[in-house]
Amino acid sequence: MAPRSRGATGPAAERELLTAGDVARTVARMAHQVIEKTAIGSADPPVLLGIPTRGAPLAARLAERITEFSDVEIPCGSIDITLYRDDLRHRPPRPLERTQLPDTGVDGRIVVLVDDVLFSGRTVRAALDALREVGRPKAVQLAVLVDRGHRELPIRADYVGKNVPTSRHEEVAVLLAEVDDRDAVLLRAAGERGRR
């Protein structure tokens, strides 16, 4: 598990960037943007794939909202990137997460990758590699709840919940009720931790 999400009670140097209500509103806004950009209603609906851990429940929430606003059923799943990471050699082996592809598959569809925080962009690169192994989407888009900057690869998100300028020494923690005990986005002062 990424250290940036350890527990809800942090040290004193911690700021709440988004409250539970903010998270809900942000996801709803992103849902509207996905509907608009992927022309839901007139074309094949996009396939939402969350990147575990927290991208997966986030994708499910986003799909639920889109269905609520557009009345279109959205195929939703998760894609594990552990085996495609570029830092495997520098870390102890991690347990695998779940890959669950919707029955529709991804061939010829628009795939929206969903993650909680966009940072270096390396996770997304790994996800693109993992995705290539399971099919050939018509297009791939990226939705993130928080973009904290410091990209190390030429990757940008199509849908951003909130842009947060951060220092590399800070840590952005997204808490989701499905995994943690509540919804919130926190900014913490931390050392070199939280890099991913």
Partner: protein
């Protein structure tokens, strides 16, 4: 984890982690056209087999290749071993040549441990693919994976291991691993095929197969290892088969959900009837299939991370 030499001493948490990874890998590769993961790209795995093997060697080779490692196979026949090179020199040579992992099968018990000792101070990992009558840890892991898949859980289950326990590294590895995972193990064998010191094993011992079958969740039939037998361990093959073979009639004593395992190679008609080996309750081909995923998981846990390799 740097080496995998034995299941004795392997704790339940680590074993479960490997089984979970194997499970994940199996799910990941299921239904894929291209069974290739980039995970171990640039890693070199060398198998050294001083004993015959089909499934274990092939399974390790596929496991390495499916994870993009470079796999080199050395067989004792075609190598400098035939010129009289010692195991130690062979090991140091392979390590110096750049092996990240050496997978060894050897007729001498303890060979893998010796190898690991000699490679102390290098970054080369050692996997025991069967050493004499000692251990065969990946076989036990794949058996556990197969049982867990078929039965849903292992804790509190009862498994009978039947036959030539004396010569069986598979039995030894399974006893340690399964008991660590909460399985109750019953050993069923003629007294001549029980190892000395079996009293110290965490198992119950029985000589009556028929009495045990109705109460087990799985039965593991062992091959009678004629190549390691140089004396009269039982009167005749026929008599062994009658007392300890899993015949069709005997298999009917098993509960409906029970699983039949055999590590292979099977001697049909000796320790297991052909019809039993091919029945739906037999998980023998699943064992082979799971073997690749389990070995991928082991390679992943040994080779993927640098930090974990002290």
């Amino acid at each position: 984890m740097k080496h995998l030499l034995a299941t004795e001493g392997l704790d339940a948490a680590t074993a479960t982690q490997v089984l979970d990874t194997a499970d994940g890998l199996k799910r990941t590769l299921l239904g894929r056209e291209v069974r290739k993961l980039p995970t171990l790209r640039g890693r070199t795995v060398i198998t050294v087999f001083y004993e015959n093997s089909t499934r274990t060697r092939v399974s390790f080779e596929l496991a390495g290749k499916w994870m993009s490692a470079d796999v080199v196979n050395v067989s004792a026949g075609g190598s400098s071993v035939g010129k009289g090179e010692s195991l130690r020199d062979t090991a140091l040579t392979l390590s110096a040549a750049g092996a990240d992992c050496v997978i060894i099968r050897h007729p001498a018990s303890g060979a893998a441990h010796r190898l690991a000792d000699w490679l102390e101070g290098t970054s080369t990992s050692v996997i025991n693919a069967g050493d004499g009558m000692h251990e065969h840890p990946t076989q036990a892991l794949l058996d556990a994976a197969t049982l867990r898949e078929r039965l849903g859980s292992l804790d509190g289950r009862r498994v009978a291991i039947v036959g030539d326990v004396l010569h069986s590294r598979v039995a030894r590895s399974n006893v340690h691993l399964l008991t660590a995972l909460g399985v109750e193990v019953v050993i069923v064998a003629p007294p001549t095929l029980l190892p000395a010191g079996i009293d110290a094993w965490p198992v119950t011992v029985s000589h009556e197969l028929d009495a045990e079958l109705p109460s087990v969740d799985a039965v593991m039939m062992l091959r009678v290892q004629a190549e390691r037998m140089h004396g009269g361990f039982f009167p005749s093959a026929r008599e062994y088969s009658i007392s300890y073979g899993l015949s069709e009639g005997r298999a009917a004593l098993l509960p409906d959900h029970a699983v039949v395992l055999h590590p292979g190679p099977m001697l049909r008609g000796m320790e297991i009837a052909s019809s039993v080996a091919d029945a739906p309750s037999a998980a023998i081909t699943e064992q082979v299939r799971n073997g690749v995923h389990v070995r991928m998981a082991v390679l992943y846990h040994l080779l993927a991370g640098e930090e974990a390799r002290e």
